[in-house]
């Protein structure tokens, strides 16, 4: 499909940041249009048929917007199948990984001593984001797949109530979610700048695939850095597209709204897939990992195996050990 008027849309997306009022599209006063519908649609090549209306609602000056059909086809076709398959594949891969690799244990066994990995602020930021994301993700997925999956089970009335609640939650939790992401970004951005060690880590597959392999890593290893950047950029994308959707037609026209919706849907499902992996490795996938965000204190041996350089650094500062 043609992705509408990409230029205008990109401009519109940028404009959100500065909240510039979107100038109403110029009415068709000057344009010479054929007086016959078929000829006109052909000339416009699927673009909107726009005229003049006396009411102040600029949207209503669009008589026919054939791209609605393309939006629908894109959403109902590629986007939903991609999203569905992506989630399915993610779950299957993780399950397979668990089956093959099993839970990654602390090779040297628990030390019994702990080291503080994340302080209260960091954990607050994480959990704020996490809890919001879970609700946002579920309500988002519900919006895309609920009609096929949930509605037949619980019936239209219950589903509508659920979805209404989901929409409200989705709208309102977006604010703390963005706050959480911003906090994490501020707290952790310096730890997430890529460096040479990351290359080794990646070459060795993060040691996830083999027992006993533990490439060195700082506070965040390359895998976590990838997650970090995905979260930051993904959240930004979701926020921009989401707020365009939440404040409809404030900064863009219908083509922009349609694009924002598609971007939001794709970004959302990708984020859900990534976070699924993140949740897996931070919980059942790896022994001792959850503590980092649970109590904030991790087993020293776990820390040495997964974040050796960070442990050294902490020790050098003379802190960290209990």
């Amino acid at each position: 499909m043609r992705l509408f008027h990409l230029k205008r849309t990109i401009w519109a997306v940028l404009a959100l940041g500065v909240m510039i009022a979107f100038a109403a599209p110029q009415p068709a006063a000057a344009q010479q249009v054929p007086a016959d519908e078929a000829a006109l649609l052909q000339q416009l090549k699927g673009g909107p048929v726009t005229g003049r209306v006396s009411i102040p609602d600029v949207k209503s000056s669009v008589l026919i917007q054939p791209q609605g059909r393309e939006w629908r086809e894109t959403l109902e076709g590629p986007v939903k199948s991609f999203g569905g398959w992506l989630l399915l594949v993610t779950v299957v891969v993780l399950a397979a990984f668990l089956a093959i690799r099993g839970r990654i244990k602390i090779d040297s066994g628990p030390a019994g001593r702990t080291i503080e990995r994340f302080n209260g602020t960091e954990r607050f930021a994480h959990w704020l984001t996490a809890i919001c994301f879970i609700v946002l993700g579920l309500s988002g997925l519900n919006l895309s797949f609920g009609r096929a999956v949930v509605l037949p089970i619980i019936g239209p009335e219950a589903f509508a109530s659920l979805t209404t609640f989901g929409k409200l939650a989705h709208n309102f939790l977006s604010f703390p979610f963005v706050l959480g992401v911003l906090l994490m970004a501020i707290l952790w951005i310096r730890h997430n700048l890529p460096n040479a060690i990351d290359i080794t880590w990646i070459k060795q597959g993060g040691g996830l695939l083999q027992k006993g392999v533990h490439p060195p890593a700082g506070k965040f290893n390359a895998g976590q850095k990838v997650i970090f950047w995905f979260v930051v950029i993904g959240a930004l994308t979701l926020a921009v597209s989401g707020y365009i959707l939440m404040f409809p037609f404030y900064v863009t026209d219908i083509a922009g709204m349609q694009l924002a919706q598609l971007v939001h849907a794709v970004a959302g499902v990708v984020m859900v897939a990534i976070i699924l992996a993140h949740i897996y490795i931070g919980s059942i996938g790896m022994e001792g990992a959850f503590d980092a965000m649970g109590s904030g204190k991790v087993d020293l041996n776990w820390a040495k195996e997964h974040h050796s350089l960070w442990v050294q650094e902490v020790r050098a500062r003379g802190a960290g050990d209990d």
Binding site: Q26, P27, A29, A30, R52, S54, I55, P156
Partner: protein, 964 residues
Amino acid sequence: MLIKKSSSASAAPVKGKLSGILAGATLQTMDRRGFLKASGLAAGGLAAVSALTPAMVKPAKAAPSAGSNIVKRKNICTHCSVGCTVTAEVENGVWVGQEPSWDSPINLGTHCAKGASIRELTHGDRRLKYPMKLVDGKWTRITWDQAIDEIGNKLLEIREKSGPESVYWLGSAKFSNEGGYLFRKFAAFWGTNNIDHQARICHSTTVAGVANTWGYGAMTNSYNDIHNSKCIVIMGGNPAEAHPVSLQHVLRGKEKNKAPLIVIDPRFTRTAAHATEYVRIRPGTDIPVIWGLLWHIFENGWEDKEYIRQRVYGMDDVRKEVAKWTPDEVERVTGVPGEQMRRVAETMAKNRPGTLIWCMGVTQHTVGTANVRALSILQLALGNIGVEGGGANIFRGHCNVQGCTDLGLDVTTLPAYYGLTEGAWKHWCRVWDVDYNWMQSRFESKKMMETKGIPSTRWFDAVLVDKKDLEQKDNVKAMFFWGHGGNTVPRMPEMKTGMEKVELLVVVDPHPTTAAALPDRKNGTYLLPACTQLETRGSRTASNRSLQWGEQIVKPIFESKPDHWILYQFAKKLGFEKEMFKNIKIDEGEEPNVEDILREINLGTVSIGYSGQSPERLKAHMAHQADFDVVTLRATKGPLKGEFYGLPWPCWGTPEMKHPGTHVLYNTNLPVKEGGGAFRARFGVEKDGVSLLAEGSYPVGSEIQDGHPEFTYGLLKKMGWDKELTEAERATIEKIGGNNPDAVSWAIDLSCGIIRVCMEHGVQAMGNAKARANAFGLPDPIPVHREPIYTVRRDLVAKYPAMADRRDYRLPHLGKSIQDKDLSKDFPMILTSGRLVEYEGGGEETRSNKWLAELQQNMFVEINPDDAARLGIKEGQDVWVYGPENNAKAKVKALVTPRVAKGVAFMPFHFSGFWQGVDQRKNYPPGTDPIVLGESVNGVTTYGYDPVTHMHENKATICRIEAA
């Protein structure tokens, strides 16, 4: 998939009509699909679309069940003059729904934005709810009694001090015929001719121009008759917005006959969008355009020579003037290329009969009457008058502007165009059953009784000018705006001063109007809530001269009252109710009986044939609407078979004579008795030795097979027909005639015997004359082009000067002295004005209707994209429009559009409530401010009056536009 939540009939219906259906036993067991089938409806409404007769298939009507108290009532739309029937569904006194009026042969179920939202008027939370007065700048509620008492006392005081001429009675084209007639009568009984209404500002020049050409000041054919036209020309009119339902007939004529639709207008209007040929002219150059067309017609011999020989006087004088308008000169003056002029002329000549439609683009000029005359001459040259499919189809403005004009809401005449002569007064005194001397005593003098009043366009001049320049005892001291906007006449800055200077300002209207909000007054303003015509009953005359009876749909809302009730109260207070209502019964609640008023109208309006339309006949027409043919307007079946819908006047003689009304005026193809006729012999029998009577042309079946003068009792005797009068008729005539019964003309014969006998002989009592191409007696007997007095074309002023300064209508009238000043440098753009479909007139009523107001939320000025680019103006931006008088200015939104030509700006005229950039919302009584307010175009429009009627110049002035 969802289905209905419940299929059982439910409780608490919101609209009663719905409850009726639900309660219907037959329907309870029937699902709606079944009902749809059973009703056969899918074809119902649509049948009206495809077939021409709406009556062919009726939409299903679910019979209301016994429990339902829904009543259907029919009235007529109160907006424009098309006369659309409105079908209301009323439950418990509340108007709850509106249904298409399929049976009406005029609107065939349809409406425009205004008609389709008219129900809102009777809910009207923005209506004026009770009488109010201004006390030290604050609106205060008062009772009707107090209002009548205080206003009455003040009027008597002014009468004592300054005489009756110092009260100005500005009435309304929204009155019913009965209300309008009573208002005219009231002014006469008060003792002044300072009484006018909107006809002054819409078609006064049409009435003057057309009446001076062939007899009557009215649309000659009808909207429906356009179905028969082979060519449709619309000049200076935008019926798509001003008369939308008329376009149904126009477009059907266009489609059915493959008729060319030619639109001649400075602005590419919504009507022009449907034209086969659009001719753009410079505002104010109508005569050059018309003469330019005639130039080609005469040049090629396309005129109807036999028609002219038989039925037109003075066409050769026209030829001389037309000869000056060569294609080159026409193009130089009007901007229309010669080739297009030739094409249009040829199209008109070769597609006959052709109709010519005009509106305010033609009439609202300093040369308005001359414009109308030129158009009339064009149609005469083509032989298009008095034939089906032809005609001068003048689309009137308000719903009853034709009726109120006919009934004399005019400074120059008593009802039915009798004028103000002694004979006219005596005629009406006989009708009113009052003594002529007593009537004369009501006036300052016999002279003032017979002197034209001050036109409504200039009422404020009568307040402001020096007393010595005013031909009456004193300036105007009290002003009544009785159903008339305060923003529809130019020179509002001066009008505002006038409004501030009068001692008493009374607004009688459903809305407070501009007159309440604009002037800076602290005391002495009264607002009296009149109800709309939907809340009372009576007849109104549509543009095509058909009278339609409206039923009361709901009782007057809040404390509002019908006009005739208010007039009775004032008459009582002023002490002449006994004389004025002598033959009119006063019903319960002191309401004069509407039917009685119409009967009195019937009695007196012999001259124009408003005499046959009794209330009973009109009600029967409404009841049998479906029997009338949509094209011929004639009933093809039923008890009214043979009659024309609404008995379009002239409907000769008494109701008992059963004249069918006249669908097409001056139509010699029908016997007089069946609605035929000929041009009226109104201007004598000869002029300078040349006969003014028709030659060899006469209505079918006429025993006089040639032209003849109008009939008198004497002429009747000469013909030997007087023996056919009944004893009663003869007695009446002889009583009227006194010493000289032979001089009694058909027009003052209250028995209508002369008319009756003439009709028996196939003869038209009003004579059979030629139409006048040369209207001797008018300021320009042969129309000549005169540049607008405010013009940007200074190069044309010397050759086409305005009329010299003169005096008329008790006032000085400037022309040349204004035109001589060159203001084109500071005001380089032409400003013209017009209507929007959503609003009407001054717009107070329609801007208060939420369904309409939403559609036009801002006052604007249309500017051509080239001008906008040059002036740095963007679409939707605020701009200042400056006028050349009184530092006038208005702040409005720019609407950049090629609808207007380069150098031309257009503004709609329905707005008020902003004044020179300042919001005046707070000036309205709380809760009565219209939803949408805006600057009035007349805040910047200028001086300029037609010499015959003092119609204002509203279509060609100058302005300057700057970004705000």
